[in-house]
Symmetry: C2
Subunit: 329 residues, 2 copies
Amino acid sequence: MRPELLTRIDSLLPAGGDTPELARYAQMLRDYPQRGGKGIRSELLLGTARAYGVQPESPEWQRALWLAAALELFQNWVLIHDDIEDDSEERRGRPALHRLHGVPLAINAGDALHVYMWMAVRRSGVDRALDEFMQMVLKTAEGQHLDLAWVESREWNLTEADYLRMVRLKTAYYTVIYPLRLGALAAGREPAPQFEAAGLALGTAFQIRDDVLNLIGDPAKYGKEIGGDLLEGKRTLIVLHWLAQTTPEQRKEFLERMNRARTEKDAGQIEELLAWLRQSGSVRYAQDFADREARTGLRALEEALADAPERDATQALLGTMKVLATRDA
Amino acid sequence: MRPELLTRIDSLLPAGGDTPELARYAQMLRDYPQRGGKGIRSELLLGTARAYGVQPESPEWQRALWLAAALELFQNWVLIHDDIEDDSEERRGRPALHRLHGVPLAINAGDALHVYMWMAVRRSGVDRALDEFMQMVLKTAEGQHLDLAWVESREWNLTEADYLRMVRLKTAYYTVIYPLRLGALAAGREPAPQFEAAGLALGTAFQIRDDVLNLIGDPAKYGKEIGGDLLEGKRTLIVLHWLAQTTPEQRKEFLERMNRARTEKDAGQIEELLAWLRQSGSVRYAQDFADREARTGLRALEEALADAPERDATQALLGTMKVLATRDA
């Protein structure tokens, strides 16, 4: 993320604390934001504001920067809770927060960071952004519920439509649709209604691409553990497609291994599942699906931005979005 | 809580969900609010608004009701996360949410309810209430951090001042100070600065009284498990006072038993600790401490409300506060 966003986040968070315990609290709040992160969502927001004519150093740019900082705070508190919910081991190359401080303190730190997100929204002075953030967080929580509930209830009897619905709610709104909307609002523009269709397609492409990278990505470039989705029992388009066309024996074997708790999973057996998936045509199927969604989404976004006055900035935004939807890390 | 608050909360939350999983999500969000709860904080807020002249059926009363509903939503999302953090078994006579649906889904439901709290604040139309809620939640989270961190790091080397600081942050702000402030704001009044001192004393009395009831309360009237604080390893004024004056042998024995994880605790051994505490003078000491705080706080509050125009409503508010600080259930 941009240094000026981290500066803004820093200025909101408690500086130290006059006891060792309150110093630890302050440090826990700063931990994830300081680990960095690509800052893709905040870049989309700022890029949209630029496309709509916001000039650096203008008051509108300050608004956009506060909203961008709020998006990063959103990402960070969600990741703290997400890492607990998935019992992830690592985040951005270091142990997850709950693995450093235990689950209770990490839940509480996530709740506090959630409040600082609202503080950043408030600082932007864009009154409507409060309602936008409410809708954004609620969409994400609804998608997150589906994702987690399928793991919890061992539900594998799912269609492509089920998967797409979950991914749109969980990823597309906060990764694409709301960054576009908030960037427009910072510029004093009414967000284009077409952002929604464009963002649903682009967000879906982004997530499917992430699912693909989780299986076949370059460990040196991809920030998370390769195969981690299998360990966490995530339902992905790849797995659902593969399950629908594999042999009954492999299907049975797969479900049996996947339905074990993370700690009960055998590393060798998971490696074998990885190999089955990689050798199947399902990775290709998912990649083609993502490519189609990316093309559809980019075309829709180009149209939605047809009246954006800053054409160079608009082209840059479309370029960023393309990289995002077809990323290899 | 008052039926009109539950009606307001109901109107914000998702009604059903068009799949069984989304129906479960909607049901999880409604679960804690529907279990009832005394609604003491919302009563204080509404009582303060009345004392400052707000008439039922007036627009100011609608504002106050939305803020009261937001306070109840705060209490409910915090309790969902609290129950996970303490690994509580029950809440209001039923299994805790995470014991019904697992930790991941319950964390997520708490996060969503947190957003609905902001929605209720927003509905009140009292713009400053947003900042008040931010400060309130952050104070509470800071106190919660101390409480949880002492358990996590097995810290028993604590003074009375440490305990009082934690309790003020964790309980006094959201139980007394902010309900008073928000009630005044709903009435269009600047909150009296003396609310803080009054509320710190009253909130402390409330919490110490809760600690006492947790040891010697009437199981039929007290909503939580008698002795539950010991199972959760809570630091209380009673325990800290007792540790400071007991024999080295009993101290050693106590700390050894308390430092075990909840699931490793032996019920019979905890019963014995309960007996030691009950037989000591420490329960009396804590009760006297709470009584002094209650008297100080009530006097301060009476002065702070000297200029409140509705004298009957003011007397009723002081009466509610007195019951709260000296409650026996």
